[in-house]
């Protein structure tokens, strides 16, 4: 499998009479996007822009999505949602790099996030550096949370697909190429290199914590093998509108840095064998079954090493530890990537579960740290949500418009793929 990614660098976003890219500016035709995303379940959909450095706060953020367009090869981006369920991950895909769609509006559930485009909060979210088309979706009273989430989720994918059409006529600034060898080819080509796979844990607790793979609700899957290039075409998307700091937005799934880094080392000091996707379900039997299957697949692949990333926190710590210990017991050296809830002073136990075999850990930071986000000139979405997002508390929103919250309220702050700059250290 071979995938070429054509990067089109977007340095600004503006509304215009047609949706197009010109000299790095993404022009957005409002009417065209609104027509593309129309959903009768929602009462109102409106569009706003949010650019790096502006005094703008977006909350409550549900998803962030990078516009991508497949121009050659099998299938289309976001299979199972925007395109048919053809296999993706090969051919050529164009990326509007530096642009994103952000969905917001009335709150669906506890734990949605904040993105500040400037000020101290901006340093905690990678999405403050993007040129964002923000879609504000209002739901009627009485719409169930699940319908609300599903509607807003589809609006995001559709908007991204609509913007991505503009890539077809744009000049490609740079190319990246990713090749995934089958097991036999990989073994033959790199017989001396350690065989390493990535175990990609997907949040699937239900109750608005869901992830979809080719349109399938991942809580219903058994762990399976995927080519790393499939993620780059949107085979995995987020239906997880909660747990802001450490959930994987669709943007993260498209740009997974663990996959990117493993590719950089592939053929040099390791053989990147592939990706095992697994879930984080809500019964003990599910957790045991999924971690058993993960370990079995790893064993069948003859791995020497594995990297396991978590999504979310709390009971998924058990999935993480089960995956890690079962791999270690097979003799597969395992590194886990997580974040921490170590209390505001950092003195508490960081994870709900632990094991001595989990002796190599990368952490994305302590989500309980408190920050005050000063007032912004403009708020897109719904400020009142501040008191009911995770990490917020009654009185989070002060009269002057500032918000005092734990950083768990900031979208992407302690991401467990290493998609941000935070970590922790022992003192």
């Amino acid at each position: 499998m071979q995938l070429k990614l054509g990067q089109i660098n977007i340095t600004d976003i503006q509304f215009g009479s047609e949706t197009k890219v010109e000299k790095g500016v993404l022009y957005v035709n409002k009417e065209q996007v609104l027509a593309a995303v129309a959903d009768e379940r929602l009462t109102n959909i409106s569009l706003e822009l949010a650019k790096p450095g502006e005094s703008v706060r977006i909350l409550p953020v549900k998803d962030v999505i990078e516009p991508r367009l497949k121009i050659e090869g099998n299938g289309g981006v976001f299979p199972g949602f925007i395109n048919k369920v053809d296999m993706v991950g090969s051919g050529t895909t164009l990326v509007l790099r530096g642009a994103a769609v952000v969905t917001t509006g009335s709150i669906v559930g506890f734990q949605e996030g904040i993105i500040d485009m400037s000020g101290p909060g901006a340093d905690y979210s990678p999405f403050s550096k993007l040129n964002n088309l923000v879609i504000v979706c209002e739901a009627p009273e009485g719409l169930s949370q699940h319908e609300h989430e599903a509607a807003v989720r589809m609006v995001g994918y559709k908007a991204a697909a609509c913007l991505a059409e503009a890539a077809a006529e744009a000049k490609v600034d740079s190319w990246e190429e990713y090749r995934h060898l089958n097991l036999y080819e990989g073994m033959k080509k790199y017989p001396e290199l350690p065989r390493v796979a990535y175990v990609y844990m997907l949040q699937t607790q239900g109750l608005l914590h869901d992830t979809y793979v080719y349109g399938v609700d991942a809580k219903k899957i058994l762990p399976t093998l995927m080519s790393p290039t499939e993620m780059m075409d949107g085979a995995i998307v987020s239906g997880n509108c909660v747990s802001a700091c450490d959930k994987n937005t669709t943007y993260h799934h498209l740009n997974n840095p663990i996959i990117k880094d493993l590719y950089e080392r592939h053929g040099k000091d390791l053989n990147f064998v592939g990706v095992i996707i697994t879930n984080e379900n809500v019964t003990l039997a599910d957790k045991q079954r999924s971690s058993n299957f993960t370990a079995k697949l790893a064993d069948m692949l003859g791995l020497d090493g594995a990297i396991v990333s978590q999504e979310g926190f709390g009971n998924p710590d058990t999935d993480l530890i089960m995956n890690c210990t079962k791999l270690e017991k097979l003799g597969i050296k395992t590194v886990i990537v997580t974040d921490e809830y170590a209390g505001r002073d950092g003195a508490s136990q960081s994870l709900a579960d632990a094991d001595p075999l989990a002796d190599a850990t990368v952490t994305g930071g302590n989500a309980n740290e408190v920050i005050t986000l000063p007032a912004m000139d403009k708020v897109i979405g719904n400020t009142k949500s501040a008191d009911i997002i995770a990490g917020g508390f009654d009185g989070s929103l002060a009269k002057d418009g500032s918000i005092t919250v734990e950083i768990q309220a900031i979208t992407g702050a302690t991401n467990e793929l290493g998609f941000n700059t935070l970590t922790t250290r022992e003192i």
């Binding site: 607790q205 239900g206 109750l207 809500v282 019964t283 003990l284 957790k287 009971n315 710590d317 058990t318 530890i321 089960m322 709900a352 579960d353 632990a354």
Partner: protein, 66 residues
């Protein structure tokens, strides 16, 4: 004390000594997929098991499986 919980490994990690496994994280002591009478029986079974655990002497951590 008895700890009734779904994710037994966490209960073991935090040091509970009498552990009764339950149904699922969103509904530890019930199962919305069951008919009312069956769910009531399930709930009674779990509470009875917890009372049994509470009246059992333990030496260290013990998980009260079926």
């Amino acid at each position: 004390m008895v700890h009734m919980c779904t994710i037994v490994p966490i209960s073991l990690t935090v040091g509970a000594n009498r552990i009764v496994p339950t149904v699922a994280i969103p509904h530890p002591l019930g199962n919305p997929e069951l008919p009312f009478e069956d769910e009531k029986a399930l709930r009674r079974r779990l509470v009875s098991k917890a009372l049994h655990a509470l009246s059992t002497e333990v030496d260290g951590q013990k998980v009260f499986e079926d």
